[in-house]
């Protein structure tokens, strides 16, 4: 919103104030100022001139040769305006003067020297009227600088509208002036009004409000004998500077009041609108608004109507047919207050956000409606003294806001602020902002003024803001809190996440990625990935990606095609969220999952698989100090990209935590036939349910151990896990550990079988073992293995 300092100075004295510094303080105490414009500085040496002679231009039909009397001399200029006539008094820019970017010099125009320029309103920046020369109607001595009677010089600042959303009182100059007066510690002048009670004896307007929920107040009055058509120039300058387009006196006055008080008003032609109904229609209607658009209005939109037809959309815009025209001499003036939400909804539905609706949305003060009418009449009569008021002030005041009184004391304020602001200063600030203050020493009872009571100020904390913002946050002493020494509670899960990430990135050289929480439907289709139905977003802008993912893997697989060209050897992982269906209470079963994908062209599929398995083992060992167990996998039934054979579930201390798999060949071929891909998903929350094992240090023997390698013949289908179980069946206190050294397969040498070499380490804590003792143990071990069909090779 644009604010004119000239306008402000009408309500509070700004003499001797550094305006730039004031605007900076306004930003720090009230609302953000985005820009400051110095207006009128580019208009120089423009004086009142009278056209005394008009001749045709020898070389042009459009141009005229004009002689102008500017008091001290008569100058000759070439003028292209259509409205040149003898006797016209116009603004005239002298040689050496300036109009906007144009410096006035003696120049030939179509071959004739011109020594100055007659100006239009647009050229002077007063309005966008460029139809002809501005005609000065008032009587000023010729040669008077126009700045002596036109307030062209002004400082206009633009306040960020967003920072005013909660301040309905700041949507007009008077409210801004109140803030500035408080900042300057100077008084705010009362508004000059006409007391409408003098019209009480006149007939009221026939007004019926049929919707008592959404109409808070509807005030109106009629007036007649309006003869002036154009607003005074200084009013038009202010409107233009504040971004409004001057139209005609009545429209300009309603806009002027809106810019001054923040109260939207509407002037209906009284010859077309004589009574008012505020209601909704039971059927949708079509309605021609002021901007000449035929709009569809639904049954929920509140309308202003006369006896027969609609004349305005409440709080948004009036109708074309009932609007004032150049021949209007009598008006019905509306000054109303509607429910902010309702106006917002109407404006949104119509796609028509106006200056009025934007203000109503902020929840305006209903006390303002009559005030605005009284101010309107005052300004109108000053301009056009012959105007007659033809009705009493008709006022349906339906919803009053509660009067709010807030009690607090200095202790509360000191605790909240952390600094010492004196009670005198608090009283002064609140009074300046219009609060009524009853004070007993350091105890306060303050009444909230109506313009702050619609939603903004309701409680003690709001008073803190009023006092501190005017006090100035820059003036605060700042200091640390004091607190007892106490240990910080660690977030185990977050620490674990960082450990996992660090391990995968820095030991396994993988890259962390982020992906969306929904399935990328198009990519999944391209890759032939089927996903289960899951909960969906109902209003996504990208409608095809509306399903929340229940697993993280498709997101990661979807990244492979993007990278396979430049990075065929890739390892990617993400810790992200999924919704694993719904819980019993109907809420999403949100889970945090770790997804890993490894792809390679150099490694075989088997190598990729085991590389991934190793990474998972290391992660789980690192976090929980437990070696995971790999088991038959249920994921194969769920997801079509899981390999039916080469996939396994991951168990940690009997808790299922995830699975790993190589990519199903069908999906693999959709990406790249030569790419070997393995992936895994681990549920972080399930993993965190498992208690970590403490690390146990064991004494090592002082005596040397004996190492025996045994190559065992087993069927190809026999898993290492089975061998391990058989070995564990042999009770032997000296067998400290054993581990896999090699697996050898050769269809010719060992048809149907494989040779598994395992290294056994025998050691005693008390002595050096004799070789025949060890042999006995090996024999015992082999006897157990033989009984299970495992032979020594």
């Amino acid at each position: 919103m644009l604010i004119s300092m000239n306008w402000i100075s009408e309500f509070t004295d700004l003499s001797g104030i550094d305006i730039k510094e004031l605007i900076n303080r306004f930003t720090l105490s009230t609302a953000e100022v985005e820009d400051i414009y110095e207006m009128g500085k580019d208009i120089k040496d423009v004086v009142v001139g009278k056209i005394i002679e008009v001749n045709d231009h020898p070389n042009s039909k459009k141009l005229h040769l004009v002689k102008i009397d500017i008091g001290s001399e008569v100058v000759e200029v070439v003028c292209g305006a259509p409205n040149v006539y003898v006797g016209a008094v116009v603004p005239f820019a002298k040689l050496g003067g300036q109009v906007g970017d144009l410096e006035i010099k003696e120049v030939p125009i179509a071959g004739v020297l011109s020594s100055g320029m007659c100006c239009s309103e647009k050229e002077l920046g007063i309005s966008d009227d460029n139809s002809g020369l501005m005609i000065i109607e008032e009587d000023y001595p010729l040669g008077t600088d126009i700045k002596e009677f036109m307030q062209l010089e002004d400082i206009v600042f633009e306040v960020d509208n967003k920072s005013l959303t909660n301040r309905p009182d700041l949507w007009g100059h008077y409210g801004i002036a109140r803030e500035i007066a408080a900042l300057n510690k100077r008084p705010l002048k009362p508004l000059e009004l006409v007391d409408t009670s003098i019209y009480n004896s006149l007939t009221p307007i026939d007004l019926k409000v049929e919707d008592n929920e959404r109409v808070y107040r509807f005030s109106c009055i009629t007036m007649d004998n309006i003869t002036k058509k154009k607003a005074p120039v200084n009013m038009r300058i202010r409107l233009t500077y504040c971004g409004m387009r001057p139209i005609n006196l009545l429209a300009d006055l309603t806009n002027y009041l809106m810019m001054e008080l923040g109260q939207p008003m509407h002037a209906y032609d009284n010859s077309k609108v004589t009574e008012i109904r505020v209601k909704t229609y039971s059927e949708p209607i079509e309605f021609l608004t002021l901007d000449d658009n035929l709009r569809k209005v639904d049954t929920e939109t509140l309308m202003i109507c006369n006896a027969k037809e609609p004349v305005g959309i409440a709080g948004v815009m009036g109708g074309e047919l009932s609007s004032i025209s150049d021949d209007t001499t009598s008006v019905l003036l509306e000054s109303a207050n509607f429910d902010g939400t309702s106006v917002r909804k109407s404006a949104t539905k119509l796609g028509l956000r106006t200056d009025a609706s934007a203000r109503y949305e902020k929840t305006l003060d209903p006390e303002m409606t009559v005030l605005a009418i009284e101010r309107f009449i005052k300004l109108l009569i000053d301009i056009d003294p012959a105007v007659k008021i033809t009705s009493s002030l008709t006022d349906a005041y339906i919803k009053h806001y509660d009067k709010i009184t807030i009690d607090f004391d200095k202790d509360y304020m000191d605790k909240y602020t952390g600094i010492d602001i004196s009670s005198d200063m608090m009283e002064e600030t609140l009074s300046a902002l219009g609060f009524s203050v009853v004070r007993d020493g350091d105890s306060f009872s303050v009444g909230v003024p109506s313009w702050r009571a619609t939603k903004d100020v309701t409680m003690k904390a709001d008073i803190v803001e009023e006092i501190t913002r005017i006090y100035g946050y820059d003036n605060f002493d700042i200091y640390s809190t004091t607190s007892l020494l106490s240990p910080i509670r660690h977030s185990v899960e977050r620490d674990d996440e960082y450990r996992i990430k660090s391990l995968l990135s820095h030991k396994y050289d993988m890259n962390e990625v982020h992906s969306y929480i929904w399935y990328e439907t198009k990519m999944n289709k391209e890759l032939g990935i089927n996903t289960e139905p899951n909960i969906r977003i109902v209003n996504s802008l990208t409608a095809e990606n509306d399903t929340i993912r229940s697993t993280i893997i498709p997101s990661l697989l979807g990244f492979i095609p993007k990278n396979v060209e430049s990075n065929p050897e890739m390892g990617m992982y993400e810790i992200g969220r999924v919704a694993d269906g719904l819980k019993e209470d109907g809420l999403c079963n949100e889970k945090k999952r770790l997804g890993i994908v490894i792809a390679s062209k150099q490694l075989s599929e088997k190598e990729v698989f085991f590389k991934l398995k190793e990474a998972i083992e290391q992660v789980l060992l690192d976090i929980k100090n437990i070696t995971p167990v790999f088991v038959e996998n249920e994921a194969i039934n769920k997801y079509n990209y899981v390999h039916p054979v080469n996939s396994a579930g991951i168990k940690l201390d009997n808790q299922e935590v995830g699975y790993l798999s190589v990519l199903h060949p069908k999906v693999r071929d959709n990406i790249d036939k030569k790419l070997n891909v393995a992936f895994a998903e681990i549920d972080i929350s399930d993993m965190e349910k498992v208690d970590e094992l403490p690390l146990e240090y064991k004494e090592v023997s002082k005596y040397p151990g004996v190492t025996v390698d045994l190559s065992l013949l087993a069927y190809k289908s026999t898993r290492y896990e089975s061998l391990s179980q058989y070995i564990d069946m042999y009770p032997c206190q000296y067998l400290k550990k054993y581990y896999l050294v090699d697996i050898f397969e050769d269809e010719k040498l060992l048809p149907g079988k494989k040779s598994v070499t395992i290294r056994f380490e025998f050691v005693s804590m008390e002595r050096t073992l004799e070789s025949n003792e060890v042999q006995k143990m090996v024999d015992g071990l082999l006897a157990v293995l033989n009984s299970k069909g495992i032979e020594l090779r």
Binding site: T27, I478, T481
Partner: protein, 346 residues
Amino acid sequence: MLDNLDKIRQQFKEELNAINSKDELEKLRVAFLGKKGLVTEALKNLRNLSSDEKKIAGKEVNKLKHEIEEAIASYHKTLEEREYLKEIENAEHYDYTIPSSREAGTLHPITIVQKKIEDIFKTMGFIIEDGLEIQTEYNNFEAVNIPKNHPARDMQDTYYLENGQILKTHTSAAQNTIMKKYGAPKKGEPLKVLFPGRCFRNENLDASHENTFFQLEGMMIGDDISISNLIYFMKVLLSEVFERDVKVRLRPGFFPFVEPGFELDINCAICEGSGCSTCKQSGWIELLPCGMIHPNVLKMGGIDPDKYTGFAFGLGLTRLAMMKYNIKDIRLFNSGNLKQLKQFTR
């Protein structure tokens, strides 16, 4: 006899001079000191002498034996040195300018920035918390004082799910849960908590708009937390985050979950406050919203606003990462594009 010993000594010297390898040296040792070696033979011959002669000659033979032993040991060392020199001379010259092939993995830029900030807050005693991404309307709106009919609620940028839940629009959605989890703080032990999280806005993507982005929010609640503390903390914390002595400036700002609410600006690092294009000539950069936690929000979190006060602040983590790495296009973060993401090694 003694003559013979001189001969042996002479012969040894001559032969030693001709030796070039440890093998030859060993042969020489055997030839002189071995079982049938010249010196050994000379020792054996001693028995043919009279006892007086034996005494004198015995001394001489042993002397010779020691001489030869020492000479051999010393020559052995020389030969060894020579061999090492030779090995080094013949060594392959490695080209240490060949680049190493291993490429370490990377963390996501958000993780890097988030961890750094979390670490700063941890040193100041903050607990790190987490929150759900799929939230109830209550947690995301009502509990932070955004009632039904508030304009923020009918904005189209909230993702609504079929079951009425939403994708959280801001990290504040975790406030209520966290307050209830920890309860009212003990006297002198304010609750200090930081909760980063991923947020969602139903927007179309472009270089500066993402529908999925990270924020980071912090709160401090206690029996005597004041506006003065808030300003102090923000100044200290932001100085750590930006690694310079940051100046902060507070302006009134309206956010339903704080009262008073502020927009916090920091002094522009580029022009140091004198005004430039980055700070739109103001010398200040709008950085984050903060404020004193609204009494209604405390109340809904089960904390008595008459006894406790607190402050809260939010920081755009994604925006911060963009500032830190000078990232121009926000779509990088969720792109999975390794060409880009592999650059974030620290």
